[in-house]
């Protein structure tokens, strides 16, 4: 997309997204705009210079000169970071989402920075002992899971304090390519309910505190230090889940050949290197519905040849 002309008056460039057009074409009344949100995807707040020698009028000079791209029609490409309404103005810290690498069973595969999902039993038995490899066919038989922690990640505020109620995340939105897998509970692999699947096959799940007890929990650990916690300051809630591989990935290499490639991986049982292991790299997007913070969890689906 090109940049918008910013030489004159402020203009608005508005488009329907592909999902919007799909719903409009359905004609079933599902195209109904009910609310709005504001985004600032292009803004780099690191450019905000609070120490500018010329004074406060120059603090955000570079930010205000940021060129803005034309609107994307792909619904998944816009509004990646949303503006947040919090009535009080005296906040100095805001919560984030973070993958917890310390919780047992939540390790990412070494050197890759990704979680691996073994899509069939054969792959599970070969690579399942590796840390960070999730069982995609039999998630309930595997101890690995993905855990995302929420809270104030600062040493300036002690974790012994309870996070303010308006900053505690109570609902998470998980988006995953539905062709590849589904979200299930870390405890017993119960599948989560899909809220909707968009035109790009992205499935969206809404998981709430108090309702989805197997997924969202309050983080009551106030210890300082706490070796198994990744949030240095006050802690909010945690989201834990596993991924069940889709039947397509379980039974066929078609999507692997179309969307992925092959690599060599060490067999955790024999120690031998297995060549030409199929993989597809993707991300599972976790967004806090309340605070708007967004985290992309890198995931690699693997299948033994």
């Amino acid at each position: 997309m090109a940049f918008l002309d910013n030489s004159g008056d402020i203009i608005l460039d508005a488009v329907l997204t592909d999902t919007g057009r799909m719903r409009l074409a359905k004609g079933d009344g599902s195209f109904k705009i009910a609310k709005f949100a504001l985004g600032d995807d292009e803004i780099n707040y690191a450019l905000y210079n609070k120490n500018h020698t010329s004074g406060s009028a120059y603090y955000d000079l570079e930010i205000l000169q940021t060129p803005v791209l034309e609107a994307f029609t792909n619904n998944g490409s816009s509004m990646k970071s949303k503006l947040v309404s919090i009535p009080r103005t005296n906040l100095l810290y805001m919560p984030i989402l973070k993958i917890n690498p310390f919780a047992s069973g939540n390790e990412q595969v070494e050197s890759s920075g990704s979680f691996f999902v073994a899509v069939d039993s054969d792959t599970e038995s070969s690579f399942g002992l590796e840390g960070g490899v999730l069982g995609g066919e039999n998630p309930s038989a595997d101890n690995s899971f993905i855990r995302v922690d929420q809270g104030l990640d600062t040493t300036e505020v002690s974790p012994t304090y309870t996070i303010d109620a308006d900053l505690a995340e109570t609902q998470y939105i998980i988006e995953i390519d539905n062709r590849l897998g589904k979200i299930c509970a870390s405890t017993d692999a119960t599948l989560a309910n899909i809220s909707f699947i968009d035109d790009d096959n992205i499935a969206t799940y809404f998981l709430s505190l108090g309702t989805d007890l197997k997924f969202v929990k309050e983080n009551t650990n106030r210890s300082n230090p706490a070796p198994l916690e990744c949030i240095a300051g006050p802690r909010g809630t945690t989201l834990t889940f596993k991924v069940q591989a889709s039947l397509d990935l379980n039974t066929s290499t078609y999507l692997f050949e179309r969307l992925g490639g092959t690599f060599n991986m060490r067999d955790a049982t024999t120690g031998a290197t297995v060549s030409s292991v199929y993989y597809i790299d993707t991300t599972i997007r976790v967004t806090g519905a309340t605070t708007g913070y967004r985290l992309d969890v890198p995931v690699r689906f693997i299948k033994k040849p």
Binding site: N6, L12, I33, K35, A71, K82, V84, T291
Partner: protein, 358 residues
């Protein structure tokens, strides 16, 4: 409670309708001469094996860059003096006339096809346009309809094809306040020359101009409107195999496509304004002083600390670049982008007006 969405209230959404007009000027050189090679082949003119009409493009039509701009056809009523077994493509010319007439003029109570009427007064009979030239403008140009009172076409009605003269301009200038609504194809106006001679009909929603063949003749052998302008019969392209002696001879002695060739070469210009009916919904995104002063942008925080603040007493600030319009189930249905970042802090309030056109 932190929130990222704000629900539209009833008075935040309003629907409007706007008429958008574009000027469409077309010089006659597009229709003849611009894309002719040395052998005389016109690459922007498409003929069909059925020979019922001819299409004019704005560029050689085999190119994907070409746009279809209009079609030309000629036809006459079975009641015309030109109709006869000896006329070339007699039945096809009648078929074209009848097809256009039944679509544009409709049928009588007894089911007969109504002929084109000179003044649109069907009840009192009057003069009929029995021999017509049809200009069917593509939807690309006419869009939802031709704007009333904006149409003008100039024909060179005299001289020879090589040296034509006698420019005759027909317009619907009076149609702004005087048009007919008794057509099944929508509204239509009367095409007149500068002397108020009624020389055709212009169907606005259909985007079709029906011009009497008498713009090219003064003979009274046809059921034509008396005119005094035409003096010389030289209609037709040089070297063409069709009859060049008169419009009457052309219509009886030539194929439809050949007649279209001749008429194209006499077309000096066509212009009109089209109309696009824009149905819009305007969403007023009201951002109050205490709304959207923070952001979930990852660069906003450094170790969970807000970058734009030094102390808790500093005002938070955020910068708006995007407005997302969502369904109740949080699906992003539309996106609007501001051309430059808009600073938001607790001292400011905005109403951002997003218009979606359908």
């Amino acid at each position: 409670m932190a929130t990222t969405f704000k629900t539209f209230l009833t008075n935040d959404v309003v629907s409007t309708r706007t008429m958008l007009h574009e000027a469409i000027p077309m010089t006659g050189t597009i229709a003849s001469g611009t894309y002719t090679n040395k052998a005389g082949a016109e690459h922007n003119i498409k003929n069909y094996s059925h020979g019922m009409f001819q299409s004019v493009y704005d560029y050689p039509y085999l190119s994907s860059s070409a746009n279809h701009i209009y079609d030309i056809a000629v036809g006459y009523s079975a009641l015309s003096a030109l109709s006869g077994a000896s006329s070339i493509q007699n039945s096809k010319k009648i078929n074209i006339y009848n097809q256009m007439a039944q679509v544009l003029m409709g049928h009588s109570a007894s089911g007969e096809i109504l002929r084109f009427d000179q003044d649109g007064d069907l009840l009192s009979g009057g003069t009929k346009l029995n021999e017509c030239v049809f200009f069917n403008f593509s939807r690309l140009l006419s869009k939802d309809e031709i704007k009333k009172g904006s149409f003008s076409a100039t024909f060179l009605t005299g001289g020879t094809q090589a040296a034509p003269f006698g420019a005759l301009t027909v317009t619907d200038a009076a149609a702004t306040n005087d048009f007919r609504i008794n057509s099944p194809a929508g509204e239509y106006g009367i095409l007149q020359d500068g002397s108020s001679n009624k020389l055709g009909l212009l169907f606005y929603q259909a985007g079709i101009a029906v011009v009497t063949a008498s713009v090219f003749t003064s003979l009274s052998t046809l059921n034509l409107i008396a005119r005094q302008r035409l003096v010389s019969y030289g209609i037709g392209a040089p070297g063409a195999s069709y009859d060049t002696s008169s419009m009457e001879s052309l219509m009886t002695g030539s194929h439809i496509t050949a007649s279209c060739d001749a008429i194209r070469n006499r077309l000096q210009s066509v212009s009109f304004n089209n109309t696009t009916e824009l149905n819009s919904t305007i969403y007023f995104c009201r951002v109050n002083h205490n709304d959207y002063n923070y952001t979930a942008n990852p660069t906003y925080l450094s170790g969970s600390k807000i970058r734009v603040k030094n102390a808790t007493t500093d005002s938070p600030v955020s910068y708006i670049t995007t407005i997302g319009l969502y369904s109740a189930d949080n699906e992003l249905l539309a996106v609007a982008k501001l051309s430059e970042p808009l600073k938001k802090d607790p001292t400011t309030e905005f109403t951002l007006r997003v218009r979606l056109d359908y």
